[in-house]
Symmetry: C2
Amino acid sequence: MTESAPVPNEKAVPNGNPPPPFYLPFPDRPELITENLLKLVELTPDPRHKFLARTLITHLHQFVNETSLTTEEWMTAIQFLTRVGQTCTPLRQEFVLLSDTLGVSALVDAINNPPISGGTESSVLGPFFTEDAPDVENGESIASEGKGEYMYVEGRVLSTDGTPVSGATVETWETDALGYYDTQYEHRDKPDCRGRLRTDKDGKYGYRAVVPVAYPIPGDGPVGAMVVKLGRHNMRPNHLHMMIEAPGFNKLTTALYPEGDQWLSSDAVFGVKKSLVVSLRDVYDDAESRKRGFPKGGSFKLLQHDIILVPEADSKAARAQYARERAEKAGLKLPE
Amino acid sequence: MTESAPVPNEKAVPNGNPPPPFYLPFPDRPELITENLLKLVELTPDPRHKFLARTLITHLHQFVNETSLTTEEWMTAIQFLTRVGQTCTPLRQEFVLLSDTLGVSALVDAINNPPISGGTESSVLGPFFTEDAPDVENGESIASEGKGEYMYVEGRVLSTDGTPVSGATVETWETDALGYYDTQYEHRDKPDCRGRLRTDKDGKYGYRAVVPVAYPIPGDGPVGAMVVKLGRHNMRPNHLHMMIEAPGFNKLTTALYPEGDQWLSSDAVFGVKKSLVVSLRDVYDDAESRKRGFPKGGSFKLLQHDIILVPEADSKAARAQYARERAEKAGLKLPE
């Protein structure tokens, strides 16, 4: 036998799981690859993971089978997904953007937030939320001066029974007048056009902002290139993001969409619901503008909107009921 | 109106596509999100892209619907895919590994390389192929001394009609005795255990190598963690990769799997086909060992295997026929 030269490393360490305790034929035919995999899925310890893996593998393999995906197309997909992952940074989430443009984010949002009579509807989170929004007091501004046309946003946060919710956290973010979020700035030394405030004892909130504008989702990455290949525009109608949280209520991620935008019904990420389309009122009153704190006075737009939160218990029950109904409709049995 | 402060950038530039030339309702219900998307898919200029997008979106949305995927699970998936992308380097392809462990690579391989009577069957490429394999002459070694037990690999490359194929490129790569590819070394100053050679005028090839060993696919990344969650082992049976190319023939990506390995039928990436399982012969002949160029002589293993290439025209016809049969079976019509 050959003597080996000294080696620098230990042998690679297996994950410790044994060969499966059942027979698997050599996967000599395509069908056997899928069958073997689905047998192996039965080894998954967690029942929910098992269900997700089985459903995912079934659809993945059906996709490959139904399209007779070529080796070149497979390689293109691998390279595309790799680029999507490598385009992500702490301030840019290209996989969320991919999910958004393929309607997956909107669908997940829709099935997890079934409409509840009276409750404000949800909308997609989008890829521009950040954790570093500054705390602002009611009446203060979330945008630095010069970021766009003045807009004042105000309303109340209420429970579905009409009770005001005091101390609710209202997190909000939007584009500047050029259609950019601060995370897209070449130099971002601090957050802008975003803020976090709390409702007062009467459930009221109010803050200065700028009128958001319609904007293209990022076109310089792999997802932007995909949208072009699909022949679709990449515009989102102008909107103001809001995320509202209060103890005992379902956390609401939503957005308000000022009416009249030409991209409203073909939003590139499928976020608009009819009930979220709002009116902006023009206020031509210099004194009122200055009273509300707009440094240069003049006119401003007023967005008044009450947010209705759904108690957590109601929301949970509705979600479970919705999942059951949808599973029944699809002829599936959801694991309990 | 408010005067804007000077701004550093131009307005974000849309991709130039107009709103769709048809009516889209606000996607107030989950079904409408899918329906709107499938309407938009009709805008895709390239018919193959359109078909792929339609099939992909259908299965993606079915997956979300059938599982009632939660927002937390969606976020976990986004973070997982992001980590997979960010684990990729020029020498590590974690998305290929993901595709491998989910049987997608094997399935794509199987449907694109239907068995053709007499032709050597294909196997998965795997994530360890590199472009920088050194050229070696017939009889030379692809492994540096001390990398493992001596093995000599030899055979002929033939056409399905038995004609020797001279000048065929044989690219080959394998693990060392510890189960590592060179790309996994902490310091990789040059390629090792890989090489590229050409068949001689009689279609013969032969080279020195080491006996490959079974090894775990990388367990330190997100895919390794996923395999653990699925309760599966992460072992590949020992094998020697080969990729053979010659003008006029279908490029063959395959691997040879020495018999007797305990992981053969449950290969973590579903690469083994019965016809690719081979015998290694023990040669206890010091003189022969030295004659073949093994520096320390002694015994060596001999792997003799002829590779049968399929003419490109036959392969193309078989692939098209196979795709038609599979589409018919699935009740689908493939675009011409």
